[in-house]
């Protein structure tokens, strides 16, 4: 009865991500057991939530650069990994099928950075309330 009927990230996974994130636990390891398309969906979900928390926390003062500046730029990441693929190829959506481990490690880094950003947005609001 309870078979997975969807190709996208299940809502329970999203809830689990939020649960661990809000409990201050690491979340990037949650993608280890995921299929490639779920990993991509997780990255997308995390980015959407990061923007949502950022906008609710900072309003118009939120800039995506506050988060992305902590992410290793694609060209640097490719150099670090001695990657011979073209620059535009270093995107999770493209590379995860051919260089799974490398792409997953990059996505993990991004997920951890986004999780830290979300926690900071929340902490700032907790301090304001206090």
């Amino acid at each position: 009865m309870f078979e997975d009927q969807s190709n996208s990230l299940r809502v329970s996974k999203k809830l689990e991500i939020i649960y661990h994130l809000l409990n201050g636990e690491p979340i990037s390891h949650l993608i280890d057991d995921m299929k490639n398309h779920e990993v991509i969906d997780t990255q997308k979900f995390m980015w959407e939530k990061t923007v949502e928390f950022g906008v609710k926390s900072r309003g118009k003062n939120f800039a995506r650069d506050e988060v992305t500046r902590y992410m290793t730029p694609s060209d640097q990441y490719q150099k670090l990994k001695n990657c011979k693929e073209p620059k535009y190829y270093c995107k999770g959506t493209l590379c995860i099928n051919n260089h799974q481990e490398c792409a997953r490690n990059k996505i993990k880094e991004h997920i951890d950075i986004m999780a830290d950003a979300i926690r900071q947005f929340i902490d700032q609001n907790v301090e304001e309330i206090a």
């Binding site: 309870f2 999203k14 809830l15 809000l22």
Partner: protein, 162 residues
């Protein structure tokens, strides 16, 4: 009188019963896992809540037959007990997968200490996991908070009206 029907799904009887009682002020136990309560909104409209206790291997409820009549599903779990979250996960995925009926997932918290996140982030209709699946938190015995959560799921329904 028109009636709107909601399910209240939880891994423990006490959780759904406290939630339903805090909203309706009364509760009727149908059997050891199902309870019922109703709230009259006005003389023309009432809301019925069907409380259902589930476990990990639950597969004997005819959800396919039930869901077309249900306006929304309310899932409960204890924020401080990850096991209760795990118990609702499969049912949550199943109901989110078979229809677009709104779902509100409510974490039961103890008092105002260590809330999952400031209220600002769950207002007005819950934190969106998906357009029709929202997350919020409540102390289940706090009727003001539980009624706000129910208002949230009603608002999701209203948002969908053309």
């Amino acid at each position: 009188m028109r009636v709107g029907e909601f399910t209240v799904i939880s891994p423990r009887n006490a959780m759904k019963d406290i939630f339903m009682e805090s909203i309706c002020g009364h509760i009727t136990h149908i059997d050891d896992r199902i309870s019922f309560s109703s709230l009259d909104i006005n003389k023309n409209l009432a809301i019925h809540f069907y409380g259902i206790k589930i476990d990990f291997k639950d597969n004997n409820i005819s959800w396919d037959l039930l869901t077309p009549k249900i306006l929304g599903h309310i899932f409960l779990f204890n924020w401080e007990d990850e096991g209760t979250l795990k118990t609702i996960e499969k049912m949550l995925d199943h109901l989110a997968g078979i229809s677009t009926t709104p779902i509100m997932v409510i974490a039961n918290v103890n008092g105002n200490n260590d809330l999952p996140m400031p209220e600002k982030f769950v207002e007005p209709n819950g934190f969106a996991l998906e357009p029709t699946v929202r997350f919020t938190y409540c102390q289940l015995s706090d009727s003001k908070c539980t009624k706000r959560a129910v208002s949230g799921i009603v608002n999701i329904l209203l948002e969908r009206l053309p």
